[in-house]
Amino acid sequence: MRYRVRHETVYHYGGNVAHSHQLLHLSPRDSERQHCRRRTLTLQPQPSSLREDLDAFGNLATRLEYDLPHDRLEVLAELDVEVGPEEASDSAAQPWEEVRDALTYSGRPMATQYLDACRFRMESSYAKLKQVFTDYGADCFAAGSPLLLGAEALMHKVHREFTYAPGSTDIRTSAVEAFEARRGVCQDFAHVMIACLRSRGLAARYVSGYLRTTAPAADAVAVGADASHAWVSVFCPPLGWIDLDPTNDRRVGTDHIVIAWGRDFGDVSPLRGVIIGGGQHRLSVRVSVQAE
């Protein structure tokens, strides 16, 4: 599939912002099944400096600095991305306990992909490790069951028992808070599922990206399409990392475009920054994803 993505963010500040630093995660990752053909970033006003490099998780990060007064900031990211089909993978992944044990320290050397997975199995600020999360996932992970089967069962459970309710949470809501409320948006669904997986010693990362706006005729319109989207990637050797979307209760296929991944939202927020001055601000975000 080939997509055109348009992600527009506008800050209207109440007064002049004298100085500002912004960190953007708005450029897609290239992978075996995803290729970015073209991307443009249109900024209004022009920053005093712009820098792009890969962050510690391999995402492309853009850093902006503004040192002249401005009362408005517009960031428009336009992407032309090709997404290939997911390789067929059955559920013959390793039993989840084996994976958990392989990620546990033994004093022996660790293969690169396992060490990489270790980065995503400890707690992070949005996804704390708690007994309640371990308990919540208990009936999904029967003894000896393949990891992927368990993760999918967990995805079904989260989707079933949590209410998708925009406005019920905000950008700073943690997994614990969303878990107690049993409601939230894609960010919260992802954080809860990540916390459940990590609390039982498995590795899971937070993926930020987009979902196509118009779903194939057979399906209902997908949830979360008019904004940036988020889902979960689970470490399932020997299959590798498998992406699951608890908001839409489905494996990630050609409808999802990957922008960045990290431990949680904090690592990959599309835009974060610090402004000096500016008073109260209004923020508007518009996303459209068109299939060609």
């Binding site: 630093h21 490790l129 371990t134």
Partner: protein, 811 residues
């Protein structure tokens, strides 16, 4: 005699004794000290202990400023009897500590770089990846100059066999070296001969080396600038931040004093933006940059990581170095030493089991009664527990926690710390005889190392900490005390070490490196000091006319006009808020104030609080307060470096007095009516000019002469003219130093007042009344101009200070 006093000092077979050998004899290296104390007698020792306590109070050495809900600082606790370490023993400690510093530096390089030790199984990945101070944005960053660790500290204690063990490592922002230095200063006042005779190694060169190393990476063509970054006056060790700033001659700054432009870090100074080459930080890792680290931190510097990434600032210590602050690392240090240094670990860690390893967990569960259980990560909600202290239910609870999340817990062997003598005075109250003598307390020492071009250098001394009672907990938090550590020199020549190589290439601090916010707080310190004085004088003068039925209501009305709602129940006299603001400004400018000056301000606050509490006579309270405030004025003149910050403080004082007196005179003269004799006396009293008037005019006051003295007499330091001349003088000096023309905001209003004809204002004629009103008008304009000048100064010198800083996030 000494031996007699040792009777109260009890040996403990389970412990190593610093003072006594196995046969109960004083160890040879303690002998000269013990003999000298015996010669001087018990009274001398007691006097020394008292002097130490007094010096701590006088020097304002506190442990937690403002942290106490009572608003009281907790005084530092120092037992002036030192700990003695022989030269031979020190050589081993020194080598061990330097090696640990080297090892931790190499470990940081690996964790924030190739992560080889994680891949090969030497170190569990859970340790860095689960630690809140492992900062992913810093992965792959290389520090300019090559050192991750600039300041390192380790807590050591020794076991019964005399072996020293590392108990905890400090790799983020080790606290305490300033306290160690202050301990030495105090002990050298208390026991000057003892210190000299013992041949104790000095600490001075260590601090010089620290400063030189911070500045060493600055390019030759630039004036190097290093700053100390503090979270602010509310931090528990703020005393030390300000103390180190004074000792090292470095500006003490908060996050908002710094700004990142492009790849460069700047300090906002009175003279504009100055490049900063190095930061000695006392701010925790994740608070340092709200753009990439904790977004909710207003304490940091937005964009700082970008400067680090560009290799344009030395961070001491590197951001993220706190990841090594966990007992969990200890068990893996021997392997890491072999792997990274190819060396055997010289200073071993106390036996430690990280429960994330199944065999270790098994051992810990089997032996829990003999072990101390600690959290593996500092953000855990878990207090250190001694297994043997637990009741059965608590023990079950702990076992459950360990099984649920083993990787989050560490167990350590309990070490019976060595013991050392402290001086105890008991009894004495209620008619009982006072008993003095040595008493034994458990001992731990914190030892410091710093990076230098020739490797890690260890401070020849340290911060010894003693238990509050006979328990094995040595912590200032838990009420323990501290001691100076005397490292005995091998020979006399080694006492004062030669200065470090390449020492003090250039002078560190320049006058125009004064942070803008510091200058602003000095300006307001000046204004509030004077404001308190003005109000106190007004109140005191008013109290003394209470019997005058005509004047009293007018005087009260004037007090209200100046925001002094007379004499309310709380007895705070309406001055409380201004005194609090004065204290706040003083706390913010502490690095510029001498210990005596700071003490005077603390004493003033305390006196006022106590006076209000005991409901003393207002007149008495005001007399005391005015005396203390006069002391502050003296410190301002004679006890401060006269740089631009000081000049702004003096402008603040003069400007406040100008504004107050102009407003006071305007307020009375605008009424038109001729002021009465007693009212003129009252005005002279407020203006502190009664005596001057009497010596000059030898008659009862007349209006024109009173105004002349209070407004135009340049030789009267209370007069308006004196204020505006002084202000002009300081403005010219500030402009010469910082560039630009002197501020002319006051000029027109001053010229108008100077034109006034005073002879016309006496008498009851309509003409005289108009003349008084016209003078009142000019004085009013002068007061308003003073207000505008204050705004102008803020705009010109303090405008770099950011009003509001906020984090924004969009999904």
């Amino acid at each position: 005699m000494a031996e007699a006093r040792l009777e109260t000092y009890l040996s403990d077979a389970r412990r190593y004794d610093e003072l006594l050998d196995n046969e109960g004899k004083v160890r040879p290296h303690w002998r000269p000290l013990i003999d000298a104390l015996a010669r001087d007698g018990a009274d001398a020792v007691r006097r020394g202990v008292d002097l130490a306590r007094r010096l701590i109070i006088e020097n304002g050495v506190t442990y937690n400023v403002y942290a106490d809900s009572q608003g009281r600082d907790r005084p530092w606790v120092l037992d002036p009897l030192p700990i003695l370490i022989t030269a031979a023993e020190w050589r081993e400690i020194e080598a061990g500590v330097a090696q640990r510093a080297r090892l931790f530096d190499a470990l940081l390089e690996d964790i924030y770089g190739a992560q080889r030790l994680l891949a090969d199984g030497s170190v569990p990945p859970q340790l860095p990846f689960g630690h809140p101070n492992f900062l992913w944005p810093c992965h792959g960053l290389k520090p300019v100059g090559g050192n991750w660790l600039h300041v390192y500290a380790v807590d050591i204690s020794r076991s019964a066999d005399g072996q020293w063990w590392a108990l905890a490592d400090r790799t983020q922002t080790p606290s305490g070296p300033g306290y160690a230095l202050e301990n030495r200063h105090i002990v050298s006042r208390v026991f000057p001969e003892l210190l000299n005779d013992a041949g104790v190694r000095s600490l001075g060169a260590f601090f010089l080396a620290l400063r030189d190393n911070l500045l060493s990476t600055a390019p030759e063509e630039e004036t190097p600038l290093a700053v100390i970054l503090t979270p602010g006056a509310f931090n528990e060790t703020y005393f030390e931040h300000a103390y180190l700033a004074r000792q090292l001659g470095l500006p003490l700054v908060e996050g908002h004093d710094l700004t990142v432009r492009g790849d460069t870090l700047f300090l906002k100074t009175l003279g504009g933006l100055r490049r900063v080459h190095a930061i000695l930080r006392r701010l925790d890792d994740d608070f340092c940059d709200p753009v990439e680290l904790r977004a909710d931190s207003a304490l940091g510097v937005p964009g700082l990581i970008g400067v680090v990434r560009a290799g344009r600032v030395v961070m001491a210590n590197a951001l993220g170095s706190g990841v090594l602050e966990s007992a969990a690392w200890m068990g893996f240090m021997p392997a890491a030493a072999e792997r990274l240094l190819g060396e055997k670990l010289q200073l071993p860690s106390v036996a430690t089991w990280w429960c994330g390893e199944p065999p270790a967990l098994h051992y810990v569960l089997e032996n829990i009664d003999r072990l101390v259980i600690k959290p593996a990560y500092p953000n855990q909600n878990f207090q250190v527990v001694f297994g043997r202290d637990l009741a059965a239910a608590e023990r079950d609870q702990l076992v459950k926690r360990l099984n649920a999340r083993p990787h989050a817990y560490v167990a350590q062997e309990r070490l019976a710390f060595s013991q050392a003598p402290v001086w105890r005075s008991t009894g004495g109250g209620g008619g009982g005889a006072q008993v003095h003598g040595f008493s034994a307390r458990a001992l731990g020492m914190r030892i410091y190392a710093i990076a230098t071009p020739s490797g890690y250098r260890v401070m020849p001394g340290g911060l010894a900490r003693i238990a509050a009672d006979t328990a094995d907990v040595v912590s200032m938090q838990r009420g323990g005390g501290s001691k100076d550590v005397w490292v005995l020199a091998p020979d006399r020549r080694s006492v004062d070490e030669a200065n470090v190589a390449g020492a003090s290439r250039r002078v560190a601090a320049r006058h125009d490196d004064l942070p803008s916010s510091l200058a602003e707080n000095l300006f307001w310190l000046g204004r509030y000091s004077e404001r308190c004085e003005d109000k106190a004088r007004l109140l005191r003068a008013t109290l003394s006319v209470r019997a005058n039925a005509l004047l009293w209501p007018q005087a009260l009305e004037t007090c209200e006009h100046f925001g002094l709602p007379a004499f309310d129940d709380s007895n705070s006299l309406g001055l409380k808020a201004d005194l609090q603001r004065l204290a706040w400004c003083a706390a913010q400018t502490r690095s510029q104030l001498s210990a005596e000056n700071w003490r005077a301000i603390s004493v003033l606050q305390r006196e006022f609080q106590e006076a209000a509490h005991f409901k003393r006579e207002p007149r008495e309270i005001l007399d005391t307060l005015l005396l203390s405030l006069a002391g502050l004025a003296g410190f301002a003149m004679d006890d401060m470096t006269q740089d631009d910050g000081w000049r702004l403080m003096m402008i603040g004082r003069r400007l406040e007095r100008l504004q107050f007196l102009a407003e006071l005179l305007h307020h009375r003269l605008q009424l038109g009516a001729t002021p009465s004799q007693s009212e003129l006396e009252w005005l002279l009293d407020i203006g502190d000019s009664t005596i001057t008037y009497r010596t000059r005019y030898l008659a009862s006051p007349r209006l024109s002469e009173t105004i002349d003295l209070l407004a135009f007499d340049q030789s009267n330091p209370r007069a308006l003219a004196f204020q505006w001349h002084e202000i002009e003088h300081y403005l010219v000096r500030v402009a010469a130093s910082l560039g630009g023309a002197p501020d002319g905001t006051l000029d027109e209003a001053v010229a108008n007042v100077e034109e006034m004809q005073l002879t016309a204002i006496d008498g009851d004629s309509g003409r005289a009344e108009r003349a008084r009103q016209s003078l009142a008008q000019s004085l009013n304009e002068l007061g308003l101009a003073a207000g505008r000048l204050s705004d102008q100064l803020s705009l010109k010198h303090f405008s770099l200070i950011d009003v509001s800083i906020r984090s924004v996030v969009a999904a």
